[in-house]
């Protein structure tokens, strides 16, 4: 029973990883929180649903969702962040601006879905259950874990092994210096946000499939979970977000299974508070959460 729960948690954690890694990627490069990330995630789920509802196969929906969410994230950066970044005081502004973007996106999907919960038609994903060593694993779970793994590995390769990754890191270090060596920061930002949005969109589709409940508010709790994950993993750290997602997936599944149902969230967010107190930079973050030295 415990092992079954841990396994379920691990699969959920994989999907969280898609969400949180994208969130952290953006924070890592610009030091800005994109609070519209939950709305981007929800957009992915809706795009996939309406593609399938229009008679196209699921894989088409999946690809369209990733592309659509990626483009949306890119637009958010251009419309909501670009001007703010130049003004200097972007940290607060980005929170406000991206909350605004989130509200707009939510309204649009609320109108399109007529405030209804939509569900993928039955057997959009074949319901097959595998049993081994006393454990139950559905084909969907395997697909989720597989997709999460493939996407994360691809992204890690992209960020750490390609020239794109080098340019990203150049811009992260110093925007002006990067421009001097011929890297166009805005282009890098476009690409990074696209990547971040596409990951969020992909996780939206997987969550939509798994819980088969797509609505215009579905992004909110995931944004909250995203916070917990990036605090645990360390803001800006991609391996940290990955590890933290898996831990979080398992812990959450266990608390749902073993704690009184109303207390899951209180427990999770209280734990996050403790992490902020004890280890504010998370498992793998750089030292930066702390306030100015000599602050008393």
């Amino acid at each position: 029973m415990l092992i079954q729960q841990l396994l379920n948690g691990l699969v959920v954690g994989g999907v969280y990883a898609l969400f949180a890694v994208g969130f952290n990627l953006v924070f890592g490069i610009q030091r800005l929180l994109n609070l519209a990330h939950g709305a981007i995630f929800m957009t992915g789920a809706f795009v996939a649903y309406y593609t399938v509802a229009a008679g196209w196969p699921l894989w088409v929906g999946f690809i369209l969702a990733a592309i659509g969410s990626g483009v949306l994230a890119m637009l958010i950066e251009i419309v909501c962040f670009r001007r703010l970044r130049k003004s200097g005081d972007a940290e607060f502004g980005a929170i406000i601006s991206s909350v605004g973007a989130s509200l707009v996106i939510m309204t649009v999907w609320q109108w399109i879905s007529k405030t209804q919960i939509v569900r993928f038609p039955f057997e959009t994903f074949p319901v097959i259950i595998f049993r081994f060593w006393g454990l139950r694993v559905s084909a969907l779970q395997l697909f989720m874990a597989g997709a999460a793994l493939v996407i994360v590995v691809l992204m890690a390769w992209f960020v750490y092994r390609t020239s794109f990754g080098r340019r990203v890191r150049a811009v992260t270090g110093n925007e002006k210096a990067a421009m001097l060596v011929g890297v166009n920061p805005n282009r890098i930002y476009n690409q990074t946000y696209f990547l971040s949005g596409a990951l969020a969109g992909a996780s939206g589709v997987l969550v939509g499939l798994a819980f088969n409940n797509i609505n215009y508010m579905m992004g909110e709790p995931y944004l909250m979970f995203g916070f917990v994950i990036i605090i645990l993993g360390g803001l800006g750290s991609i391996p940290g977000a990955l590890l933290a997602s898996l831990i979080f997936g398992m812990v959450q599944t266990l608390t749902i299974a073993f704690l009184p149902s109303g207390l899951t969230n209180a427990f999770i967010f209280f734990a996050m508070f403790l992490i902020l107190l004890i280890r504010p930079n998370g498992l793998m973050g750089k030292e930066e959460a702390g306030a100015l030295r000599g602050r008393r």
Binding site: L292, R293, G294, R295, R296
Partner: protein
Amino acid sequence: MSLELRNLSKSFGGVIASADVNITVPRARVTGLIGPNGAGKTTIVNMITGMLAVSSGTITVGGRDITRASAAEINRAGLARTFQNIRILPETSVLENILIGFHRHETCSTISALLGLPSSRRETQDLRNRARGLLVRFGMAAFADHPAGALSYGHQRKVEMMRALASEPDYMLLDEPIAGMNDMEAEALAQVFVELAQGGMGILLIEHNIRFVTRLCQEIYVLDGGRLIAQGPPAVVMKDPAVIAAYIGGEHA
């Protein structure tokens, strides 16, 4: 009575920024700290004022250990500073920038301040008058109500100095106070520094303009690569072969 740095060292993850620095800043004197770019002068000011943690060594003011004190405590112990990269409060007026400097001398109770009782209002009015006095002394009375962020570079430096002076410190640490000023402005400031020292203040002057330093200081410390390479009266220090080498080497590097 003096500000004493003893065997002060700082390393950033293995990179040494200051090594074994000993400096004495006496009251009523202007003490110089010079050195080529990247010699670690600002690192020392940051350590003294509690903005950077000290790796080893001690800092004392008048015998009191402030090595691990917070920046605010250090100011309350009688130290004030200006910043090399100007740090003006851009959204507030020049006068309000200076008012902040009086903070450690403000005595009205929290309750009085919260409720706007007469004692709080009187104090604010009194400090405004004193700030205007400072503005007159620095020849900037006309700028009192200007937004500080819109001032010229040289004027912003002066606002920083007035702000630091408002806290009536025993010691002032001036990090390149005349950078960006013309000769006339620098001359006027030199006069102010001399007057302050005559009034009993100990000044640590960090400056690139060697002529300015040699003229004002009785004692000069020369820093290179985080280490002191010379100290003494200006005439002696400027003839020191190590100092000449550091400067010439520095200029050509």
